[in-house]
Amino acid sequence: MVVTQLSTRPRHGEGNSTPASGEARIRIFDVTLSYGSLQIIGGISLDIAPGETICVIGPSGCGKTTLLRMLAGLARPTSGSVELDGSVLGGPNRSVAIVFQDYGKALLPWRTAAGNVSLALEARGCPGAERLAITREMLEKIGLGRHADKYPAEMSGGMQQRLQIARCLAQEPKVLLMDEPFGALDAMTRQALQDEVLGLVATTGATMVFVTHDLEEAIYLGDRIICLQPNPGRVGRIVDVRLARPRNQLLTRENPEFLRLRRELYDLIKDDHQ
């Protein structure tokens, strides 16, 4: 793998990382969310371009997961709107896939790996023969080709999370939402999955919104990093990540720009905690 070092060219637009509204894949417009008198999200606006990878960080309780659930259509904004390709998202939509952190609960324990992937295909009415081929292809892609007949309980945490990602990819989503997907995995597995997800997102051209509490993970994966502030959740800062792609676990992480961003985000988050 050849790594072009130190290119500061962003993938989208010329220097301006906020795309014009016309071409946004996701448009979050002045969204708020309250439970009774408790405001969780207090007015977030954000445009996300097709193919862009957005990482969301922030202290706990800042509404990261709630924001993601709104993008998935699992939570309704109290005011404001979320648009997908220009039309308002009124509820869950198959072209928006979400990978949950608790893979153990999100997989069907009575279905094999192949069966779990197949669920997403059955949901969109994919005919039987085709289903088998796509299932095989998805499992192959995520490195579970030899484990098609295993049940989730027979798989390690990393394999289970891979499986959940494979099921989400089988939805052929335009948008891939990830809710701290690697938080419960060990460091080596996490890094391997980071690279695999980056590769998959690059080949499918999917837009990704990735929630994490790991600053380095956010920098490593993202085109832009949204730093949320709590009480109520709102955008504190948006940081552009001008690191070359494809990224590399060693070289990218040693890059001075990477270190500078890490410092910047660290100070930012620290301030929020005080």
Partner: protein, 258 residues
Amino acid sequence: MRAAGLLKNSWRAALLPVTLIVLAQVAATVTQLESDTLASPFDIARAFVSIMADGSLLGATLDTLKAAAAGCILGVGAGSLLGIVLGLSRLADDALDLTIELLRPVPVVALIPVVMMLLGFGAEMEIVIIALGLLWPSVVLARAAVKEVEPRLMEVSDVLQLGFLARLTKIVLPAILPQLFMSLKLAAGYALVVAVTVEITANPRGLGYGIMMAQQALRPAEMFAYLIWIGAIGWLISLLLNSVQRAFFPVFVKGEGR
């Protein structure tokens, strides 16, 4: 090895009942038992062979088992279906909760006169009473099972935009299948109890009627033969259902740890 262990264990388990039977026989022989209420094990065995030989025991057993099975299928089926609907639909649950809580405590035997008035004697009346007896427990168990389905899985079906039927067959039913079987297992035992109760109190057929006729004819040996046979049937049913459960839902059998 396992079979040998099982055999050893059953020897230990059989010790007490075998001893009691032997003691009862000894006591009956020593006292030269002549009674309208008691019988020696030997007499009971002889009575058993005789009602088995004339076919009356098998006929009665079939009557009782058929009614229990039909009532079980009807009651658990309808009850589970209603329970699943209530578990899935907040609206239906709110609308029916009070009604169910009011109907549930009515003892099923209290329904015997009512159903008898409507349907008269016969298999039908017995089946309906058994079904009614199993209905509410099945509703409550199925509703609880549906409400305990992992919420994450419901969100997965939301995100995949599964329709009602797909959600039911692909997510909810497989998720609650072990609990549904547990419900069926409990129901089977209860169905036998209700069946025999109905036969003793009202319906002139089946094992319950047999045991009552033996009592009224002052034939204690025959009465005890029926009693032991009913116990054996209940034991066999639970043995059968337990082994089915162990084969299909190993995780849910306590202490089995596979």
